[in-house]
Protein backbone atom coordinates (compact mmCIF):
# COMPACT_ATOMS: atom_id res chain seq x y z
CA UNK A 1 0.00 0.00 0.00
CA UNK A 2 1.31 3.40 -0.83
CA UNK A 3 0.84 5.02 2.54
CA UNK A 4 0.04 8.51 1.44
CA UNK A 5 -1.94 7.95 -1.72
CA UNK A 6 -4.36 10.80 -1.85
CA UNK A 7 -8.02 10.13 -1.99
CA UNK A 8 -8.79 11.61 -5.32
CA UNK A 9 -12.23 12.93 -4.63
CA UNK A 10 -14.45 13.57 -1.71
CA UNK A 11 -17.66 14.87 -3.17
CA UNK A 12 -20.99 15.67 -1.61
CA UNK A 13 -23.43 13.09 -2.84
CA UNK A 14 -26.65 14.65 -4.05
CA UNK A 15 -29.64 12.49 -3.52
CA UNK A 16 -31.35 11.65 -6.78
CA UNK A 17 -34.83 11.93 -5.32
CA UNK A 18 -34.06 15.47 -4.44
CA UNK A 19 -34.55 15.19 -0.72
CA UNK A 20 -30.90 15.01 0.07
CA UNK A 21 -28.99 17.86 1.53
CA UNK A 22 -25.34 16.96 1.47
CA UNK A 23 -24.26 19.51 4.02
CA UNK A 24 -24.90 18.03 7.44
CA UNK A 25 -27.48 20.01 9.28
CA UNK A 26 -27.29 19.87 13.04
CA UNK A 27 -28.16 16.26 13.63
CA UNK A 28 -31.28 15.54 15.63
CA UNK A 29 -29.71 12.25 16.58
CA UNK A 30 -26.39 12.90 18.19
CA UNK A 31 -23.97 11.66 20.78
CA UNK A 32 -23.17 13.88 23.72
CA UNK A 33 -19.48 13.30 24.28
CA UNK A 34 -19.50 15.41 27.42
CA UNK A 35 -22.04 13.35 29.32
CA UNK A 36 -20.88 11.68 32.50
CA UNK A 37 -21.49 8.19 31.19
CA UNK A 38 -21.28 7.26 27.55
CA UNK A 39 -24.46 5.57 26.29
CA UNK A 40 -23.38 4.15 22.94
CA UNK A 41 -25.70 5.08 20.09
CA UNK A 42 -27.29 2.08 18.32
CA UNK A 43 -26.33 2.33 14.66
CA UNK A 44 -27.02 0.05 11.68
CA UNK A 45 -24.27 -0.40 9.12
CA UNK A 46 -25.47 -2.94 6.54
CA UNK A 47 -23.01 -4.28 3.97
CA UNK A 48 -22.62 -1.79 1.16
CA UNK A 49 -24.07 -2.86 -2.11
CA UNK A 50 -21.75 -3.58 -5.03
CA UNK A 51 -22.18 -3.10 -8.73
CA UNK A 52 -20.55 -6.50 -9.32
CA UNK A 53 -19.11 -9.39 -7.32
CA UNK A 54 -15.77 -7.70 -6.73
CA UNK A 55 -17.37 -4.45 -5.63
CA UNK A 56 -19.79 -6.35 -3.39
CA UNK A 57 -16.91 -8.07 -1.63
CA UNK A 58 -15.25 -4.70 -1.04
CA UNK A 59 -18.57 -3.27 0.13
CA UNK A 60 -18.89 -5.96 2.79
CA UNK A 61 -15.38 -5.26 4.06
CA UNK A 62 -15.82 -1.48 4.04
CA UNK A 63 -18.92 -1.78 6.20
CA UNK A 64 -17.11 -4.06 8.66
CA UNK A 65 -14.22 -1.60 9.02
CA UNK A 66 -16.66 1.27 9.63
CA UNK A 67 -18.56 -0.72 12.25
CA UNK A 68 -15.32 -1.68 14.04
CA UNK A 69 -14.06 1.93 14.02
CA UNK A 70 -17.27 3.32 15.46
CA UNK A 71 -17.61 0.55 18.05
CA UNK A 72 -14.05 1.07 19.31
CA UNK A 73 -14.70 4.76 19.92
CA UNK A 74 -17.14 3.83 22.67
CA UNK A 75 -19.82 6.19 21.34
CA UNK A 76 -21.56 3.74 19.01
CA UNK A 77 -23.10 0.29 19.23
CA UNK A 78 -23.26 -1.25 15.74
CA UNK A 79 -26.26 -3.56 15.58
CA UNK A 80 -26.08 -7.20 14.57
CA UNK A 81 -26.82 -7.45 10.83
CA UNK A 82 -28.90 -10.56 11.56
CA UNK A 83 -31.47 -8.27 13.17
CA UNK A 84 -31.92 -6.10 10.08
CA UNK A 85 -35.43 -6.17 8.60
CA UNK A 86 -34.93 -4.22 5.40
CA UNK A 87 -32.54 -5.93 3.02
CA UNK A 88 -31.04 -4.87 -0.29
CA UNK A 89 -30.89 -1.15 0.36
CA UNK A 90 -30.31 1.08 -2.63
CA UNK A 91 -28.21 4.18 -1.95
CA UNK A 92 -30.43 6.12 -4.34
CA UNK A 93 -33.63 5.17 -2.56
CA UNK A 94 -34.83 6.39 0.81
CA UNK A 95 -34.71 3.57 3.39
CA UNK A 96 -37.80 2.26 5.18
CA UNK A 97 -37.21 4.21 8.36
CA UNK A 98 -39.81 2.24 10.32
CA UNK A 99 -37.92 -0.99 9.69
CA UNK A 100 -34.80 0.55 11.25
CA UNK A 101 -36.68 2.12 14.14
CA UNK A 102 -38.15 -1.28 14.94
CA UNK A 103 -34.69 -2.63 15.72
CA UNK A 104 -33.85 0.62 17.54
CA UNK A 105 -31.26 1.74 15.01
CA UNK A 106 -31.07 5.47 15.62
CA UNK A 107 -28.76 6.00 12.71
CA UNK A 108 -28.19 4.10 9.48
CA UNK A 109 -25.14 4.07 7.22
CA UNK A 110 -25.71 2.58 3.78
CA UNK A 111 -23.89 2.83 0.51
CA UNK A 112 -22.62 1.32 -2.66
CA UNK A 113 -19.16 0.34 -3.84
CA UNK A 114 -18.14 0.56 -7.48
CA UNK A 115 -14.90 -0.51 -9.09
CA UNK A 116 -14.29 1.87 -11.98
CA UNK A 117 -12.90 0.63 -15.31
CA UNK A 118 -9.50 2.14 -14.41
CA UNK A 119 -9.44 0.12 -11.19
CA UNK A 120 -10.27 2.95 -8.86
CA UNK A 121 -12.76 2.40 -6.07
CA UNK A 122 -15.75 4.65 -5.64
CA UNK A 123 -17.95 4.48 -2.58
CA UNK A 124 -21.20 6.44 -2.30
CA UNK A 125 -22.68 6.49 1.16
CA UNK A 126 -25.43 8.16 3.15
CA UNK A 127 -26.00 8.61 6.86
CA UNK A 128 -29.63 8.68 7.96
CA UNK A 129 -31.41 9.80 11.08
CA UNK A 130 -34.03 7.06 11.30
CA UNK A 131 -36.23 8.78 13.88
CA UNK A 132 -36.01 12.22 12.27
CA UNK A 133 -36.42 10.51 8.88
CA UNK A 134 -33.80 12.61 7.18
CA UNK A 135 -30.41 12.35 5.56
CA UNK A 136 -27.53 13.70 7.60
CA UNK A 137 -24.74 13.03 5.12
CA UNK A 138 -24.34 12.02 1.50
CA UNK A 139 -20.78 11.70 0.27
CA UNK A 140 -18.80 10.03 -2.45
CA UNK A 141 -15.21 8.85 -1.91
CA UNK A 142 -12.84 7.76 -4.63
CA UNK A 143 -9.46 6.09 -4.10
CA UNK A 144 -7.08 3.59 -5.55
CA UNK A 145 -8.36 0.05 -5.10
CA UNK A 146 -5.71 -0.81 -2.54
CA UNK A 147 -6.75 2.08 -0.30
CA UNK A 148 -10.23 0.72 0.37
CA UNK A 149 -9.59 0.65 4.12
CA UNK A 150 -8.81 4.36 4.04
CA UNK A 151 -12.14 5.00 2.33
CA UNK A 152 -13.83 3.11 5.15
CA UNK A 153 -11.93 5.18 7.74
CA UNK A 154 -12.88 8.42 5.95
CA UNK A 155 -16.54 7.37 6.13
CA UNK A 156 -16.10 6.55 9.84
CA UNK A 157 -14.60 10.01 10.39
CA UNK A 158 -17.52 11.67 8.57
CA UNK A 159 -20.14 9.72 10.54
CA UNK A 160 -18.34 10.34 13.83
CA UNK A 161 -18.19 14.06 13.16
CA UNK A 162 -21.80 14.31 12.02
CA UNK A 163 -23.04 12.56 15.15
CA UNK A 164 -20.62 13.72 17.86
CA UNK A 165 -19.76 17.19 16.55
CA UNK A 166 -16.06 16.40 16.96
CA UNK A 167 -13.42 15.67 14.37
CA UNK A 168 -12.74 12.01 13.79
CA UNK A 169 -9.46 10.15 14.17
CA UNK A 170 -9.94 6.97 12.15
CA UNK A 171 -8.00 7.71 8.96
CA UNK A 172 -4.78 7.82 10.93
CA UNK A 173 -1.80 5.68 11.73
CA UNK A 174 0.10 4.85 14.90
CA UNK A 175 3.87 4.51 15.16
CA UNK A 176 5.08 2.61 18.18
CA UNK A 177 7.98 0.61 19.60
CA UNK A 178 7.49 -3.10 19.02
CA UNK A 179 9.24 -5.02 21.77
CA UNK A 180 10.47 -8.56 21.69
CA UNK A 181 12.11 -10.71 24.33
CA UNK A 182 12.35 -10.44 28.08
CA UNK A 183 13.00 -7.10 29.76
CA UNK A 184 16.65 -8.07 30.11
CA UNK A 185 17.32 -8.85 26.47
CA UNK A 186 14.81 -6.74 24.68
CA UNK A 187 14.79 -5.96 20.99
CA UNK A 188 12.94 -2.75 20.18
CA UNK A 189 11.93 -1.83 16.68
CA UNK A 190 9.86 1.04 15.35
CA UNK A 191 6.54 -0.26 14.09
CA UNK A 192 3.72 1.39 12.19
CA UNK A 193 0.10 0.40 11.69
CA UNK A 194 -3.27 1.86 10.82
CA UNK A 195 -5.04 3.03 13.98
CA UNK A 196 -7.25 -0.07 13.81
CA UNK A 197 -4.23 -2.40 13.80
CA UNK A 198 -4.29 -3.14 10.07
CA UNK A 199 -1.19 -3.06 7.85
CA UNK A 200 1.44 -3.41 10.59
CA UNK A 201 5.07 -3.24 9.54
CA UNK A 202 8.48 -2.49 10.99
CA UNK A 203 10.44 0.65 10.23
CA UNK A 204 13.76 -0.33 11.86
CA UNK A 205 15.49 -3.68 12.08
CA UNK A 206 16.35 -3.85 15.75
CA UNK A 207 20.12 -3.35 15.53
CA UNK A 208 19.72 -0.64 18.18
CA UNK A 209 17.07 0.25 20.73
CA UNK A 210 14.48 2.82 19.74
CA UNK A 211 12.64 5.11 22.13
CA UNK A 212 9.96 7.80 22.10
CA UNK A 213 8.94 8.20 18.43
CA UNK A 214 6.86 11.29 17.61
CA UNK A 215 4.97 12.10 14.41
CA UNK A 216 5.64 15.31 12.55
CA UNK A 217 2.58 17.56 12.23
CA UNK A 218 2.21 16.65 8.54
CA UNK A 219 2.41 12.94 9.33
CA UNK A 220 5.24 12.29 6.89
CA UNK A 221 8.13 12.05 9.32
CA UNK A 222 8.89 10.55 12.68
CA UNK A 223 11.56 11.73 15.11
CA UNK A 224 12.87 9.23 17.63
CA UNK A 225 15.76 8.32 19.92
CA UNK A 226 18.23 5.60 18.94
CA UNK A 227 20.08 4.06 21.87
CA UNK A 228 23.22 2.16 21.05
CA UNK A 229 25.81 0.60 23.34
CA UNK A 230 27.75 3.86 23.58
CA UNK A 231 25.46 6.61 22.30
CA UNK A 232 21.98 8.10 22.42
CA UNK A 233 21.04 10.23 19.43
CA UNK A 234 17.90 11.54 17.79
CA UNK A 235 16.85 10.90 14.21
CA UNK A 236 14.42 12.12 11.60
CA UNK A 237 12.85 9.27 9.66
CA UNK A 238 10.99 9.99 6.43
CA UNK A 239 8.07 7.54 6.18
CA UNK A 240 7.75 7.83 2.40
CA UNK A 241 11.38 7.20 1.51
CA UNK A 242 12.36 5.32 4.69
CA UNK A 243 15.53 7.45 4.77
CA UNK A 244 16.74 8.87 8.01
CA UNK A 245 19.26 11.37 9.28
CA UNK A 246 20.78 12.10 12.67
CA UNK A 247 19.82 15.45 14.11
CA UNK A 248 22.63 17.58 15.40
CA UNK A 249 25.97 16.65 16.87
CA UNK A 250 26.28 16.80 20.62
CA UNK A 251 28.90 15.58 23.04
CA UNK A 252 26.27 14.22 25.42
CA UNK A 253 23.30 11.90 25.16
CA UNK A 254 20.37 13.25 23.17
CA UNK A 255 16.82 11.99 23.67
CA UNK A 256 13.12 12.85 23.99
CA UNK A 257 12.63 14.66 20.64
CA UNK A 258 9.28 16.24 19.62
CA UNK A 259 8.20 18.46 16.75
CA UNK A 260 6.81 21.94 17.14
CA UNK A 261 3.24 22.27 15.81
CA UNK A 262 4.47 24.07 12.66
CA UNK A 263 6.97 21.28 12.03
CA UNK A 264 9.88 23.72 11.79
CA UNK A 265 11.53 22.93 15.11
CA UNK A 266 12.34 19.91 17.27
CA UNK A 267 12.64 20.17 21.04
CA UNK A 268 14.68 17.52 22.85
CA UNK A 269 16.87 16.82 25.87
CA UNK A 270 20.64 16.64 26.10
CA UNK A 271 22.42 15.02 29.05
CA UNK A 272 25.84 16.59 29.49
CA UNK A 273 27.82 15.50 32.50
CA UNK A 274 24.75 14.14 34.27
CA UNK A 275 22.73 17.33 33.82
CA UNK A 276 19.76 17.02 31.45
CA UNK A 277 18.44 20.20 29.81
CA UNK A 278 15.96 21.03 27.07
CA UNK A 279 17.07 22.43 23.73
CA UNK A 280 15.27 23.35 20.55
CA UNK A 281 16.63 23.04 17.01
CA UNK A 282 15.45 24.95 13.97
CA UNK A 283 15.21 22.27 11.28
CA UNK A 284 16.08 24.66 8.45
CA UNK A 285 19.09 26.48 9.89
CA UNK A 286 19.96 23.63 12.31
CA UNK A 287 20.65 26.34 14.89
CA UNK A 288 20.20 25.05 18.43
CA UNK A 289 18.97 27.06 21.40
CA UNK A 290 19.21 25.96 25.00
CA UNK A 291 15.95 26.53 26.89
CA UNK A 292 16.74 25.34 30.42
CA UNK A 293 19.89 25.64 32.48
CA UNK A 294 18.91 24.36 35.92
CA UNK A 295 21.14 21.70 37.51
CA UNK A 296 18.10 19.41 37.48
CA UNK A 297 16.60 16.86 35.14
CA UNK A 298 14.62 18.80 32.51
CA UNK A 299 13.11 16.51 29.90
CA UNK A 300 9.98 15.30 28.06
CA UNK A 301 9.17 18.63 26.38
CA UNK A 302 5.84 19.02 24.57
CA UNK A 303 4.71 22.10 22.62
CA UNK A 304 1.35 23.79 23.06
CA UNK A 305 -0.65 23.68 19.78
CA UNK A 306 0.06 27.39 19.19
CA UNK A 307 3.79 26.71 19.52
CA UNK A 308 4.24 29.45 22.12
CA UNK A 309 4.77 27.30 25.21
CA UNK A 310 6.25 24.00 26.28
CA UNK A 311 5.19 21.71 29.08
CA UNK A 312 8.04 19.61 30.43
CA UNK A 313 9.20 17.38 33.24
CA UNK A 314 11.64 18.62 35.88
CA UNK A 315 12.84 17.57 39.31
CA UNK A 316 14.12 21.06 40.12
CA UNK A 317 11.73 21.10 43.08
CA UNK A 318 13.13 17.83 44.44
CA UNK A 319 10.86 15.32 42.71
CA UNK A 320 9.65 14.99 39.13
CA UNK A 321 6.81 17.46 38.43
CA UNK A 322 5.29 19.22 35.43
CA UNK A 323 6.31 22.74 34.43
CA UNK A 324 5.36 25.15 31.66
CA UNK A 325 7.70 27.69 30.06
CA UNK A 326 7.64 29.98 27.07
CA UNK A 327 9.01 28.58 23.80
CA UNK A 328 12.09 30.76 24.44
CA UNK A 329 12.63 29.18 27.86
CA UNK A 330 11.23 32.11 29.83
CA UNK A 331 8.81 32.09 32.74
CA UNK A 332 9.04 28.46 33.83
CA UNK A 333 6.45 27.63 36.49
CA UNK A 334 5.17 24.47 38.07
CA UNK A 335 1.64 23.23 37.30
CA UNK A 336 1.42 19.85 39.11
CA UNK A 337 0.96 19.79 42.85
CA UNK A 338 -0.65 16.46 43.73
CA UNK A 339 0.97 13.65 45.67
CA UNK A 340 3.43 11.43 43.91
CA UNK A 341 5.57 11.89 40.84
CA UNK A 342 4.44 13.47 37.59
CA UNK A 343 6.21 12.71 34.31
CA UNK A 344 5.76 12.40 30.52
CA UNK A 345 3.48 15.41 29.84
CA UNK A 346 1.83 15.74 26.41
CA UNK A 347 -0.17 18.77 25.36
CA UNK A 348 -3.52 17.99 23.73
CA UNK A 349 -3.82 18.98 20.05
CA UNK A 350 -6.92 20.92 21.10
CA UNK A 351 -4.81 22.82 23.64
CA UNK A 352 -7.25 22.48 26.49
CA UNK A 353 -5.57 19.67 28.41
CA UNK A 354 -2.22 18.15 29.25
CA UNK A 355 -1.97 14.40 29.66
CA UNK A 356 0.69 12.95 31.94
CA UNK A 357 1.80 9.94 33.98
CA UNK A 358 1.31 10.16 37.72
CA UNK A 359 3.02 7.61 39.92
CA UNK A 360 1.34 7.38 43.27
CA UNK A 361 0.57 4.71 45.83
CA UNK A 362 2.56 2.02 44.04
CA UNK A 363 0.54 2.41 40.84
CA UNK A 364 0.95 4.33 37.61
CA UNK A 365 -1.86 6.46 36.25
CA UNK A 366 -2.61 8.33 33.05
CA UNK A 367 -4.22 11.65 33.92
CA UNK A 368 -5.15 14.99 32.40
CA UNK A 369 -5.17 18.53 33.72
CA UNK A 370 -5.77 22.00 32.32
CA UNK A 371 -2.60 23.90 31.34
CA UNK A 372 -2.96 26.02 34.48
CA UNK A 373 -2.86 22.84 36.58
CA UNK A 374 -6.56 22.89 37.45
CA UNK A 375 -9.15 20.15 36.95
CA UNK A 376 -6.77 17.24 37.29
CA UNK A 377 -8.48 13.94 36.54
CA UNK A 378 -6.98 10.47 36.78
CA UNK A 379 -8.13 8.27 33.87
CA UNK A 380 -6.35 4.95 34.40
CA UNK A 381 -4.60 2.89 37.02
CA UNK A 382 -2.28 -0.10 36.57
CA UNK A 383 1.04 -1.63 37.59
CA UNK A 384 2.66 0.45 34.84
CA UNK A 385 0.83 2.91 32.58
CA UNK A 386 3.07 5.27 30.63
CA UNK A 387 3.82 7.05 27.36
CA UNK A 388 0.44 8.71 26.74
CA UNK A 389 -0.15 10.17 23.27
CA UNK A 390 -3.18 12.01 21.89
CA UNK A 391 -5.34 11.10 18.95
CA UNK A 392 -5.46 14.10 16.60
CA UNK A 393 -8.95 15.06 17.80
CA UNK A 394 -7.79 15.40 21.42
CA UNK A 395 -10.49 12.97 22.53
CA UNK A 396 -8.65 9.65 22.83
CA UNK A 397 -5.33 8.76 24.43
CA UNK A 398 -3.17 5.80 23.49
CA UNK A 399 -0.61 4.58 26.02
CA UNK A 400 1.47 1.55 27.08
CA UNK A 401 0.41 -0.70 29.94
CA UNK A 402 2.00 -3.52 31.89
CA UNK A 403 -0.80 -5.14 33.86
CA UNK A 404 1.46 -6.66 36.52
CA UNK A 405 5.04 -7.34 37.54
CA UNK A 406 6.93 -9.05 34.74
CA UNK A 407 4.12 -8.79 32.20
CA UNK A 408 4.80 -7.61 28.68
CA UNK A 409 3.73 -4.08 27.73
CA UNK A 410 0.77 -3.59 25.38
CA UNK A 411 -0.88 -0.60 23.78
CA UNK A 412 -4.18 0.59 25.26
CA UNK A 413 -6.58 3.38 24.48
CA UNK A 414 -8.86 5.38 26.76
CA UNK A 415 -11.41 8.12 26.18
CA UNK A 416 -10.42 11.41 27.79
CA UNK A 417 -13.49 10.99 30.01
CA UNK A 418 -11.71 7.97 31.54
CA UNK A 419 -14.22 5.59 29.99
CA UNK A 420 -13.74 2.96 27.33
CA UNK A 421 -10.24 1.88 28.42
CA UNK A 422 -9.37 -1.11 26.25
CA UNK A 423 -6.44 -2.82 24.56
CA UNK A 424 -5.54 -1.23 21.23
CA UNK A 425 -6.04 -3.50 18.21
CA UNK A 426 -2.40 -4.62 18.19
CA UNK A 427 -1.84 -7.76 20.17
CA UNK A 428 1.96 -8.00 20.24
CA UNK A 429 4.10 -6.38 22.97
CA UNK A 430 4.60 -2.67 22.31
CA UNK A 431 5.33 0.65 23.99
CA UNK A 432 5.79 4.33 23.12
CA UNK A 433 2.86 5.00 20.77
CA UNK A 434 2.51 8.20 18.75
CA UNK A 435 -0.62 9.06 16.77
CA UNK A 436 -0.48 10.61 13.30
CA UNK A 437 -2.63 13.52 12.25
CA UNK A 438 -5.61 12.77 10.00
CA UNK A 439 -4.09 11.60 6.73
CA UNK A 440 -4.51 13.75 3.65
Amino acid sequence: MSPYAILALILPLVFAAGLGVAVPARAAVEVDVNKGVIAPLPIAIPAMAGADARASAIGVDVSKVIAADLERSGYFRPLDPASFIQQGLDVEVQPKFADWRTINAQALVNGKATVEPDGRLRVDFRLWDTFGEKQLLGLQFTSTGEDWRRVAHKISDAVYKALTGQDGYFDTRVVFVATNGSHRARVKRLGIMDQDGANPSYLTEGAYLVLSPRFSPNGRQVTYTALRQDSARIYLLDLETNRQEALGSFSGMVFAPRFSPDGNRVAFSVDKGGNTDIYVMDLHSRATTRLTSEPSIDTSPSFSPDGRQLVFNSDRGGAPQLYIMGADGSGAHRISFGQGRYTAPVWSPKGDQIAFVRQNGGEFHIGVMAPDGSNERILTSAYLDESPAWAPNGRVLIFARETGPGSQPHLWTVDVSGQNARPAPYTLPATDPTWSPILK
Binding site: G181, S182, H183, R184, A185, R186, V187, K188, E205, G206, A207, Y208, L209, L211, S212, L227, R228, Q229, D230, S231, A232, M253, F255, A256, S269, D271, G273, G274, N275, T276, I297, T299, S300, N313, D315, A319, P320, R341, T343, A344, V357, Q359, F364, L384, E386, S387, P405, G406, T431, D432
Partner: protein, 193 residues
Protein backbone atom coordinates in the same frame (compact mmCIF):
# COMPACT_ATOMS: atom_id res chain seq x y z
CA UNK B 1 21.25 -13.78 13.44
CA UNK B 2 21.85 -11.37 16.24
CA UNK B 3 19.32 -8.58 15.96
CA UNK B 4 20.58 -6.81 18.98
CA UNK B 5 23.90 -5.07 19.25
CA UNK B 6 24.05 -4.90 23.02
CA UNK B 7 25.67 -7.44 25.21
CA UNK B 8 23.78 -7.91 28.41
CA UNK B 9 26.12 -5.77 30.52
CA UNK B 10 28.40 -7.85 32.65
CA UNK B 11 26.62 -11.13 32.28
CA UNK B 12 28.40 -12.15 29.11
CA UNK B 13 31.80 -11.65 30.64
CA UNK B 14 30.91 -13.43 33.82
CA UNK B 15 29.36 -16.34 32.02
CA UNK B 16 32.40 -16.57 29.77
CA UNK B 17 34.76 -16.56 32.73
CA UNK B 18 32.82 -19.27 34.51
CA UNK B 19 32.83 -21.43 31.41
CA UNK B 20 36.56 -20.97 30.99
CA UNK B 21 37.17 -22.04 34.58
CA UNK B 22 35.04 -25.13 34.19
CA UNK B 23 36.81 -26.02 30.98
CA UNK B 24 40.20 -25.71 32.69
CA UNK B 25 39.17 -27.94 35.56
CA UNK B 26 37.65 -30.60 33.41
CA UNK B 27 40.72 -30.58 31.18
CA UNK B 28 42.83 -31.42 34.24
CA UNK B 29 40.47 -34.14 35.31
CA UNK B 30 40.46 -35.74 31.89
CA UNK B 31 44.24 -35.83 31.58
CA UNK B 32 45.42 -39.44 31.90
CA UNK B 33 47.48 -40.04 35.02
CA UNK B 34 51.25 -40.20 34.45
CA UNK B 35 52.55 -43.76 34.05
CA UNK B 36 53.50 -45.20 37.37
CA UNK B 37 56.92 -46.96 37.29
CA UNK B 38 56.39 -50.55 38.21
CA UNK B 39 59.32 -52.65 39.43
CA UNK B 40 58.60 -55.31 36.86
CA UNK B 41 62.24 -55.98 36.01
CA UNK B 42 63.77 -57.11 39.30
CA UNK B 43 66.74 -58.46 37.38
CA UNK B 44 67.78 -55.01 36.22
CA UNK B 45 70.89 -53.92 37.96
CA UNK B 46 71.24 -50.59 39.66
CA UNK B 47 73.96 -49.74 37.13
CA UNK B 48 71.34 -49.48 34.45
CA UNK B 49 69.36 -47.09 36.52
CA UNK B 50 68.66 -43.84 34.76
CA UNK B 51 67.27 -41.12 36.97
CA UNK B 52 63.93 -39.76 35.81
CA UNK B 53 64.08 -36.45 34.03
CA UNK B 54 63.47 -33.45 36.19
CA UNK B 55 59.91 -32.22 36.12
CA UNK B 56 59.26 -29.94 33.19
CA UNK B 57 59.37 -26.31 34.08
CA UNK B 58 55.85 -24.88 33.97
CA UNK B 59 55.11 -21.20 33.53
CA UNK B 60 55.60 -19.82 36.99
CA UNK B 61 53.07 -17.07 36.48
CA UNK B 62 50.23 -19.46 35.68
CA UNK B 63 47.09 -18.58 37.58
CA UNK B 64 45.42 -21.07 39.82
CA UNK B 65 42.70 -22.94 37.97
CA UNK B 66 39.70 -20.58 37.67
CA UNK B 67 41.66 -17.57 38.82
CA UNK B 68 41.57 -14.48 36.62
CA UNK B 69 44.56 -13.30 34.64
CA UNK B 70 45.85 -10.09 36.24
CA UNK B 71 44.80 -7.04 34.25
CA UNK B 72 41.98 -8.89 32.52
CA UNK B 73 38.36 -7.85 32.52
CA UNK B 74 37.66 -10.88 34.67
CA UNK B 75 40.28 -9.76 37.13
CA UNK B 76 38.62 -6.34 37.30
CA UNK B 77 35.21 -7.89 37.92
CA UNK B 78 36.47 -10.28 40.57
CA UNK B 79 38.98 -8.13 42.40
CA UNK B 80 37.33 -4.72 42.18
CA UNK B 81 33.69 -5.30 41.31
CA UNK B 82 32.14 -3.79 38.20
CA UNK B 83 28.82 -2.54 39.54
CA UNK B 84 27.60 -0.16 42.21
CA UNK B 85 23.99 0.14 43.30
CA UNK B 86 21.74 3.10 44.02
CA UNK B 87 18.70 3.84 46.13
CA UNK B 88 15.34 4.51 44.48
CA UNK B 89 15.33 7.75 42.47
CA UNK B 90 18.80 8.56 43.87
CA UNK B 91 22.16 9.01 42.21
CA UNK B 92 24.38 9.49 45.26
CA UNK B 93 27.05 6.80 45.54
CA UNK B 94 26.34 4.80 48.71
CA UNK B 95 28.98 3.63 51.22
CA UNK B 96 29.00 0.12 49.77
CA UNK B 97 29.44 1.64 46.31
CA UNK B 98 32.34 3.79 47.46
CA UNK B 99 34.20 0.66 48.60
CA UNK B 100 33.74 -0.83 45.13
CA UNK B 101 34.75 2.37 43.38
CA UNK B 102 37.84 2.70 45.61
CA UNK B 103 38.92 -0.73 44.38
CA UNK B 104 38.05 0.19 40.79
CA UNK B 105 40.20 3.33 41.09
CA UNK B 106 43.11 1.31 42.49
CA UNK B 107 42.79 -1.30 39.77
CA UNK B 108 42.55 1.33 37.03
CA UNK B 109 45.59 3.02 38.57
CA UNK B 110 47.53 -0.21 38.12
CA UNK B 111 46.46 -0.60 34.49
CA UNK B 112 46.67 2.90 33.00
CA UNK B 113 46.09 1.63 29.46
CA UNK B 114 42.56 0.54 30.32
CA UNK B 115 39.58 2.68 29.26
CA UNK B 116 36.09 2.18 30.65
CA UNK B 117 32.50 3.05 29.85
CA UNK B 118 30.18 3.74 32.78
CA UNK B 119 26.67 2.52 31.98
CA UNK B 120 23.90 4.00 34.11
CA UNK B 121 20.81 1.89 34.74
CA UNK B 122 17.42 2.52 36.32
CA UNK B 123 14.71 0.15 37.48
CA UNK B 124 11.33 -0.18 35.76
CA UNK B 125 9.36 1.74 38.41
CA UNK B 126 9.58 5.04 36.64
CA UNK B 127 8.76 6.42 33.22
CA UNK B 128 11.09 6.05 30.30
CA UNK B 129 12.52 9.51 29.75
CA UNK B 130 12.84 10.56 33.37
CA UNK B 131 14.59 7.29 34.13
CA UNK B 132 16.86 7.79 31.16
CA UNK B 133 18.00 11.10 32.64
CA UNK B 134 18.24 9.57 36.12
CA UNK B 135 20.43 6.72 34.90
CA UNK B 136 22.60 9.27 33.10
CA UNK B 137 23.14 11.01 36.44
CA UNK B 138 24.16 7.71 38.00
CA UNK B 139 26.74 7.06 35.30
CA UNK B 140 28.11 10.56 35.82
CA UNK B 141 28.21 10.07 39.62
CA UNK B 142 30.37 6.96 39.15
CA UNK B 143 32.62 8.78 36.71
CA UNK B 144 32.94 11.74 39.08
CA UNK B 145 33.99 9.47 41.91
CA UNK B 146 36.65 7.74 39.84
CA UNK B 147 37.99 11.05 38.51
CA UNK B 148 38.05 12.35 42.08
CA UNK B 149 40.21 9.36 42.96
CA UNK B 150 42.82 10.04 40.35
CA UNK B 151 41.55 8.40 37.18
CA UNK B 152 41.90 10.60 34.10
CA UNK B 153 38.52 11.75 32.84
CA UNK B 154 39.64 10.97 29.29
CA UNK B 155 39.72 7.26 30.13
CA UNK B 156 36.07 7.24 31.15
CA UNK B 157 33.02 7.57 28.90
CA UNK B 158 29.45 7.48 30.14
CA UNK B 159 26.13 6.30 28.71
CA UNK B 160 22.64 5.95 30.08
CA UNK B 161 20.65 2.82 29.35
CA UNK B 162 17.67 4.21 31.27
CA UNK B 163 15.39 1.37 32.25
CA UNK B 164 16.03 -0.40 28.95
CA UNK B 165 18.73 -2.85 30.02
CA UNK B 166 17.83 -4.29 33.43
CA UNK B 167 20.29 -6.68 35.04
CA UNK B 168 17.49 -9.04 36.07
CA UNK B 169 13.97 -9.75 34.90
CA UNK B 170 12.79 -10.01 38.49
CA UNK B 171 10.32 -7.48 39.85
CA UNK B 172 10.65 -7.94 43.62
CA UNK B 173 12.42 -5.18 45.54
CA UNK B 174 15.70 -7.09 45.57
CA UNK B 175 15.67 -7.38 41.78
CA UNK B 176 14.66 -3.75 41.30
CA UNK B 177 17.52 -2.72 43.60
CA UNK B 178 19.94 -4.67 41.41
CA UNK B 179 18.61 -2.92 38.34
CA UNK B 180 19.45 0.51 39.80
CA UNK B 181 23.15 0.51 39.13
CA UNK B 182 26.20 1.95 37.51
CA UNK B 183 28.16 -0.65 35.55
CA UNK B 184 31.82 -0.11 34.73
CA UNK B 185 32.57 -1.84 31.43
CA UNK B 186 36.13 -2.09 30.19
CA UNK B 187 36.20 -0.98 26.57
CA UNK B 188 39.92 -1.25 25.75
CA UNK B 189 43.24 -2.13 27.33
CA UNK B 190 42.41 -5.23 29.35
CA UNK B 191 44.81 -8.13 29.01
CA UNK B 192 43.52 -11.33 27.54
CA UNK B 193 40.74 -9.53 25.73
Amino acid sequence: MSLFAFKAPGSTLRAGAALAAIAALSACAAKPPPPVPVNSTPSASRDNYTPPPPPREGPTSAPLPGGPRPGSTQDFVVSAGDRVYFDYDQYTVRDDGRAVLDRQAQWLGRYPQVAVRIEGNADERGTEEYNFALAGRRAEAVKGYLVGHGIQAGRISTISYGKERPLTDGTDEESLAKNRNGHTAITTGASGG
